[in-house]
Amino acid sequence: MNLLAIERDAIVGNEFIENFDFAEVEEFIKNASANLFISHKFKNSNEILVQPRGGFPTYDKVFELYEEFEKVKVDVLPLTIDSNTRLNDYESARKMLKLSEESEMDMLNGYPLINHGYRTTRRMITHFDTPVSLRHGTPDARLLVEVALASGIFEIEGGPISYLLPYSKNFPLDKAFLYWKYVEKVCAKYSKLNLPINRESFGPLSATLQPPAIVLVIQILEMLLSLEEGVKSFSVSFSQTGSMNQDIVSSNVIKKLSRFYADKFGHDDATINLVYHQWMGAFPRDKNFSESLINTSTVIASIVGADKIITKTRDEAFGIPTKEANALTVANTKYTLKILKGIPKISDEEEEENLTNEVNEILEAVFNDKADTLWRKIFNSIKKGYIDIPFSPHIINNNEVITIRDKNFNIRILEKGKLPISKKSFDYEKSKIKLDKDRTVVDQIIDGIGIML
């Protein structure tokens, strides 16, 4: 028995789950329907796939949600996990699931997958025979991913950086790398049995004034960590920045560079997809405005040429959306994608050059770190502040980078902290910022957070 096998046995031996039968799970994955694999759908579709967000505490409510999504011909179903499970607090999840089942009131903001178990959940997934994407935000997702894959969920979102810096306060970063290595290995292993399991990185990060350069760096690094373990299908992603041009620039650069670095590291057999998130920041309180915002995101997704779009709803500012509101967005988004034809090819050479330089500069600094493995290089780089995101709750994040919007709502780097970008690149950023002398910088940053309100 090799080391991974021993670790897997230990992981699934968790007290909160029913007995885990690896042989049966392998058999299930070997024979699983092609329709459950998003990698299959990416390959065989010319359209942008539409995936909502959503998850409820009880089995029945998720089932009803999926029925609603099925009616509007959803492409990819989401399974969003509650925040206790995300933090491996299965005991709190268990208690609140019980309360939810008894009281008809939702005491959890997602589906506690561990407590439901894979036997139950698989029943639902195979019933709908549509790819499901696991959305969580968990630094230690080993058990969660084992249960997900055993349930028939063949797309796993996240990564050691993108699911740690925005999602945790003090979970140890080195552990996150090792735990995600486990996830990659298991995904790679199962990918050999049938079609590839797809991994996806979470580009929105803290969803607030995230500079494209850092988003792209994290996307490319998580992609490399994943491909390194044998994953063959990977999605990089980012969310609407607030400036249409910056979205276009980001997408052109990420398409080019993710392919470039995948090939450079010897993974030219891997498929790379692009995912666009509808606006992830603070939503307006007017639900009609939310719909306008969402539709505008859809138009931009078309323009940037994403392979998948992940939607929001008119209820976003108010709480977890009703299933009806959620299905409505899917229907509307699919309608808009259908009518949008004759999309021009757009590029902005100056901006693309600057973003390309910044990403290359930061990556070079990471690769030049003295450590022996890629994950240790990245670990050191985060500690040194080479990678630093605004609005991270995590204690390891350097918190020196400050961003602000320029007059076209582009996110620009005002303070670069320890980011290893060149003077030329930083000068470019600064040249775009025009501060209003009569107001505090903080007030201008707050304006930039609230542009969609």
Partner: protein, 134 residues
Amino acid sequence: MKVVTGVVGNDVHVVANRLIEISLKERGFEVFNLGVNTYLEEFIDAVVETRADVLLISSLNGEAEGWCRDLQSLKSNYDLKDVIFMIGGNLGVGEMNPAEIVPKFKDYGFDLVFHQVDLNEGLDVLEEYLGARR
């Protein structure tokens, strides 16, 4: 005036928390920001330790109720009758009726409850409330 603040439970929404810290400081408060993912016990400990006048809790992810229902019993362990207990953010999962949610949290032991109210509106009310008590 001393304020202990932070985001309760397994909740990582940090943006409002950062802005609350800035706004409290601008208003002249001395702020102890425990950040996100803070449990009720930690809040109470910090209030006792710093002799804070106000405990200002945020909850954004909808799970506040599960984390705050034990406030009364925790309060009873200490002499905290002069401390103002304040909570705000998104106080339930899904869309909630503020008319139901406010009394519920008052029952749990909060003096000031703000469901989906802007932070500065809430802080204005806090200042009025403090003024009235003086």
